[in-house]
Amino acid sequence: MLAREVLEELVRVLGRENVLTEQEDLLTYAYDATAAMKHHKPDVVVAPLSTEQVADVVKIALRYHVPIYTRGSGTNLSGGTIPIEGGIVLSMLNLNKILEVDQDNLTATVQPGVIIQALNDEAAKHGLLYPPDPGTVTTATMGGSVSECSGGLRGLKYGVTKHYIMGLQLVLANGEVIRWGGKTVKNVTGYDLVALFTGAEGTLGIITEIIVKLIPAPEARKSILAVFDDVDKAGRAIAAIIRNKVIPATLEILDNVTIQTVENFVHAGLPMDAEAVLLCEVDGYKEVVVREAVLVERILKEEGAVQVKIAKDDKERDLLWLARRSALPALAQKRPTTVLEDATVPRSKIPDMLKAIRSIATKHNLQIATFGHAGDGNLHPTILTDERDLEEMKRVHLAVDEIFETALALGGTLSGEHGIGIAKMKYLDREFGEAGVAALRRIKESLDPNYLLNPGKIVRRD
């Protein structure tokens, strides 16, 4: 429980309507979108209206040694916003203004509570695009998405969130406000704190304003779907497309388990015995798109696709994407609990990873469907289970361990886009070694010596 003075001070700074203290409200901030994770109730939820108020909250927290858990929409998949030590949940949702779209400098300045889609809708009015598009684009906030460095479907050609963050306003753990970066393309003044805070999961500071890079929206796009009877052939096709100097905006893969589940769910017209489906979209100028689509089609056929379809119009495009769009819903409706991982490997290792996942599934007698962003090596092995079945959950945890080990052995990483949070903390030393984890800890402690900000995530106190 918090001391009464803490609550009184918070109310004085923020007003009563922006401070939630009743358990019926607090309980709804005890979780995020991460599956099979223990929930923790915070002691208070506050929703500041300005950077100054954020700074004031930090100063109060510092004075009374109360942890702060900054939260956007709570859609992350790593336990990143669960307030495991209680304390203050700092909801950034009231800071939800798009401050500016600068067409001359191709930037936008937003508050952290802006929903990604809202920024894109605004950018679209000017013929511009903010490319990062995580699956939660209609719900996740910019602050959360910068803090988690979210990825999405367009990673291969356009990169991920970190490639679009140019400047940040931050409240540090001591309550001071700083600005770093800005609208200039070039900026080598001091350490690159913008890069450091992007993907820091709210453990180093609190983001209160974001300057992002926008790009001209591509004028045309074309989707191509290819069916393979062999995972290796699909893998070779991915490599061949890239080798032929075509960089598709998206290059997605669905494995056999996903295809069967999706087919039963939406009848998208995919062969049930297909071993893999590749879904590719090229975008850019009309003329270029046509040329690339023809080239991709040829490559896919040469690499042994049993079936290749090009969408002629938007209606056909929607149909091709139906299977991919339905992947998660179809899988999620099969069993009550969906454990969605994001182990990532170099794209050349995709076939190896797919095969390894399949043998892990067989070994532990689990249903694992894999789909994901083949073009950038970021797969989503999805374990379908029921968290009430404790025996099965044990096998799930073993399988997750092995998936991570395989990804690391193939030269990959624990997390492509979901982050570490609580969920993957215990695996960190396998990727970095103890010295690496110690380095992380020293960075954390130099910026947040009291473990005030999102404590218990990424690195724990020694």
Binding site: L27, T28, A47, T138
Partner: protein
């Protein structure tokens, strides 16, 4: 086991939720409050904590469960197919079982059950409403505003109670020459007491299509206001009364012009009476032949196009949640509108987003209801139309209120009223040409 009897009935439904938060993208309440408890995911968690025994049902919990317009937008956007409309009903019923009904609602639902007392009250109301309500000059309808704030704000605009109820205006059976069908008309309260113009339009259009209309005198409130607020006992009483009233008069089909009434006849009566063998069979029988008026006119009649006169209106259509998502009726009203000569249909942005009325929700949460309404009103205004059509009297009230408060000139009508108008004009044209 029905959602009305036990919270356990939704255990599996709750387990389907993976807390992805996709409901946040579409929830009208969450959009305004930006608080987790406003959205389905938050209330699902609360229900889970109650079921797991982590917390008990509290009065505060009941207040949180009241934060839902039951617009079902989250259902549609849920990747796991969670039926949140069922969860919220079960949670509210549990709250009433454990903590009782809010006093205001208790009085209201008791009155609904006592038809004659209610009728008398409404009659008295139609005479004395001027005491509490102040007329607003409006060239389309008789509207009024509360003179004093009794806790629901003074923003809301109400239609004046009709001097004569719809059901007292017409005989029980309205005959036509050579009837091709006999149809029961379930009026619902709002059409019977306030929007008798919608009721008259329904009768006009049906008789115009050679359909005999039966309006059973002993029909009652549909009970939806009670069942969505967890007062299951009152809802059951009303369901039984309605089934018996229509069964006694008999009809080939039943029509409603109100989305709550449609939901009640098609789904809710059967669910409420699940454990009563005889009445369940009766409910199922009537459910099969219950239709929304627009659905009935398109698929069952189909309504005659000759004789339709020219109605010069620029119309935008607002989808009632319980007609669109609740009954899957969305194309039909548009089809009717498009078939009327002179009507230009201009779509608004997000026609399917809730207007924020949601029955008693707008009385318990007037500010929130007003904020949700403001968005809808702005969307209507940008269409530059002169008429909003909708398929539900409750939506009509909310839309009228919004338009009136925003101060622009826009008539709010039920789709069937525009169709009736067209038939009327058609007859005039015919007379003149003779």
């Amino acid at each position: 086991m029905s959602v009305y009897d036990s919270l356990d009935s939704i255990t599996e439904e709750l387990h389907k939720c993976m807390k992805c938060g996709n409901c946040m993208a579409v929830c009208p309440i969450y959009k305004e409050t930006r608080q987790e408890v406003g959205v389905a995911r938050g209330k699902i968690s609360l229900a889970e904590y109650i079921l797991s025994g982590e917390i008990e049902m509290t009065k505060g919990m009941g207040n949180r469960f009241s934060l839902c317009t039951t617009c079902m937008a989250c259902n549609t956007n849920c990747p796991c197919g969670v039926r949140f409309d069922k969860i919220i009903l079960a949670a509210r019923a549990e709250s009433v079982r454990k903590k009782g009904l809010q006093p205001v609602k208790k009085i209201a639902f008791t009155a609904l059950k006592m038809q004659r007392v209610f009728d008398f009250g409404m009659k008295a109301g139609s005479i004395f409403q001027g005491v509490a309500l102040k007329n607003i000059p409006n060239r389309h309808s008789k509207l009024a505003r509360m003179r004093v704030d009794v806790g629901i704000g003074k923003e809301k605009v109400f239609p004046m109670l009709s001097k004569k109820t719809l059901r007292s205006e017409f005989p029980q059976v309205i005959t036509v020459k050579n009837p091709k069908m006999r149809v029961g008309f379930f009026t619902g309260c709002m059409i019977n007491y306030f929007y008798t113009d919608i009721g008259r339009a329904v009768i006009e259009v049906l008789t115009e299509n050679d359909i005999e209309v039966v309006i059973p005198k002993f029909q009652a409130c549909c009970g939806i206001p009670a069942s969505v607020n967890g007062d299951v006992a009152s809802a059951r009483t009303l369901a039984k009364r309605n089934l018996r009233a229509f069964e006694r008069m008999g009809a080939d089909a039943l029509v409603v012009a109100c989305s709550s009434g449609g939901t009640a006849w098609k789904h809710v009566f059967g669910e409420l009476l699940e454990n009563d063998h005889e009445l369940k069979a009766l409910a199922d029988k009537w459910a099969k032949k219950s239709y929304d008026i627009s659905e009935f006119l398109i698929h069952q009649v189909p309504f005659k196009k000759e004789g339709l006169g020219r109605v010069a209106r620029k119309v935008t259509y607002h989808e009632p949640c319980h007609l669109n998502r609740g009954q899957g009726i969305s194309k039909e009203p548009r089809e009717i509108l498009k078939s009327i000569p002179g009507v230009e249909l201009i779509e608004m942005k997000e026609p399917g987003r809730c207007c924020g009325m949601a029955g008693s929700f707008s009385l318990v949460h007037p500010d929130l209801s007003g904020q949700i309404s403001d968005r809808k009103t702005a969307d209507i205004q940008t269409t530059n139309t002169d008429t909003v059509a909708t398929g539900c009297p409750a939506c009509r009230l909310q839309l009228q209120s919004g338009v009136e408060n925003a101060g622009f000139d826009e008539e709010v009508l039920h789709t069937v009223q525009i169709l009736a108008e067209s038939y009327r004009v058609g007859k005039g044209e015919l007379k003149r040409s003779k």
